[in-house]
Assembly symmetry: C2
């Protein structure tokens, strides 16, 4: 029973992690409809798309759900020479791999965060979660005044404290095990790869708001283990990645059960920001040029059409196959069925006869 989720009307101590680019309104609705908290990662969505997808979720279910954004500055410098060099590298790689796709300069590199935040306020989800940075105290209060609970993502105790000081309602600690982008904002990402067995009890001891646990949790046992270490709820992403409601490419879904733990690394070369995923052919090919690539969101925008084309061609080895370190424990099934299985396992593991 989650102290944070239960008062919102969410039955289970279970959050489906936002997975920008892979999640769909159908996935969020399926999880929230089955008694968990579905989350729509809207970091890549323009305001209009965010509002449309929120409306799709509401049309499907009358249950609480979460929207998630990446906290980024609206304006940033772009190094044009670096962009040109990266485009040449990427185009050469696609050519050598036989893919008829080339990079393009996008109309804009990314949606403006302030516009996304305004749309989120309008959408008024029960929960808004944030990664990559901190909201201001005023931004937190504005959301809370509209009855939107604020969850901050932390990859270290210092980041958790910073969110608590800004008035967040809860913290989601992202253990080093977690798939996808690192939420890190106070440290270099490689300095904040703290495993959940350490990060969770440290954070619970450091802040007095509820703490969600994310990273490597794939089943009900993991949810119980997180609860024992002080988690108010467990947040699972990779576990839902192979569901039919997930928009992950089929090749990516197929690779998850075979993903060896030591092949799941921290990767910069798809988006320009540290993210955990499979070290596949693309990652190996771009490794020598890691230092020359533009930062997020520029590289992310440049590689987007390449990833789409590679996915369409069934080339999982050339796309960003984000996943947590326990990806091999994935169980492909409809999301609502997975929620029911997780909760059966959770109930069974919760009270071990002493």
């Amino acid at each position: 029973m989650s102290a944070f989720l239960r008062p919102l009307g969410v039955e289970h101590p279970l959050v489906q992690a936002p997975m920008s680019g892979s999640n769909t309104p159908a996935l969020v609705a399926a999880v929230s409809g089955a008694g968990g908290l579905g989350s729509l990662g809207a970091g890549y969505l323009e305001p209009q798309a965010l509002l449309e997808q929120a409306a799709q979720i509401r049309a499907a279910i009358d249950r609480p759900f979460a929207l998630n954004l990446f906290v980024l500055p609206d304006d940033f410098e772009v190094d044009e020479a670096q962009v040109d060099a990266a485009r040449r590298r990427l185009d050469a790689l696609m050519e050598s791999e036989g893919l008829a796709v080339r990079t393009e300069r996008p109309a804009r590199w990314a949606p403006r965060f302030s516009d996304q935040l305004a749309a989120l306020r309008e959408a008024r989800p029960a929960v808004a979660s944030f990664a990559f940075g901190l909201l201001s105290t005023a931004q937190v209060r504005e959301l809370q005044a509209r009855n939107v609970r604020v969850v901050g993502t932390a990859t270290s105790v210092a980041e958790a404290r910073a969110w608590a000081e800004r008035g967040a309602d809860a913290i989601c600690v992202q253990g080093a095990e977690a798939g996808g982008h690192r939420g890190t904002f106070l440290h270099a990402p490689e300095e904040a790869l703290v495993g959940l067995f350490a990060l969770l009890p440290l954070t619970v001891a450091a802040v007095d708001i509820p703490v969600f646990a994310a990273g490597g949790i794939m089943d009900g046992r993991g949810m119980v283990a997180a609860e024992v270490l002080g988690a108010d709820a467990s947040q699972l992403g990779t576990a839902f990645l192979a569901c039919p409601e997930s928009a992950a490419a089929e090749a990516w879904k197929r690779d998850l059960p075979q993903a060896a733990d030591h092949r799941i690394g921290t990767i910069y070369s798809f988006s320009g920001r540290a993210a955990r995923g499979l070290r596949n052919r693309y990652v190996a090919a771009m490794q020598p040029f890691a230092g020359e690539l533009p930062p997020y969101p520029v590289l992310n925008a440049l590689t987007a059409p390449l990833r789409r084309a590679a996915a369409a061609a069934g080339r999982g080895d050339l796309i960003s196959e984000w996943c947590g370190q326990a990806a091999a424990l994935v169980r492909p099934m409809p999301a609502a069925e997975l929620v029911r299985m997780l909760m059966r396992e959770y109930a069974a593991a919760r009270c071990t006869p002493a």
Copy 2:
């Protein structure tokens, strides 16, 4: 109740992790005497010292204990130019820090593993655990024939499988959270930083022998969480580091409760092998020269007298302050008292009323 430890006469599902250089016969005896399994990390001990320390443990208690060795080749190449360059760097650092100590060329770089293994066979501990490499099947069988159980350290599922194939009696999975040297032997160490929330259930699913959990476990809650994820026993090192029976330098013990998670990194510059500890002044000073330093055990031998002198001068910022990522949760108290507290917490956390 540990399926592996209970038949040996060890009451609690609790292993005190070997901590070569910091553990003492008194620490091992205190833990084994209190119903856990104490482990003496003997990786730096010459055969005679190993036998003497094993005899000291036996003189103190009539309980099972473990000896731990680093599996290394007896012979290795030494790059003399690299050694000279490293000595100049290290001597310059000590001078700039005002420490009147200089590197020396040791009589030998490290004890020979084959001699250590022969001494271990003679000592006949109840349990022998190994890191950094694999024993041969014949070596495993020789130990088992003398009634010594063999535990292999694994930092990935592939390493766990390799130990199981060699006939090990149990696996100790070392999560990325763990303090001290990484046991990694099949991968580059940075490729096998798998958090315990992922590594433990993955390994339990992959091998059919008991699995110990190590990394970030600091209290009874952590032991229960590990058990829920399938661990047969929990192995705690950092938790015992501030005990009076630990030989860790006083400055090191004092720094543990303040050790911020994001300041605990993977460090090569003390020993030439990846090890987790505090990124202190020495680590920052040596960072620019990381690529030039000799590998283990050469660098370890070169820095040994410097670390001893720095410790004697109370300079914690210049010694290898190994610790796991949850070091701040350390509770300094006599080891037997800590075992009793851990087991009280374990009993209390084990059965959560549903």
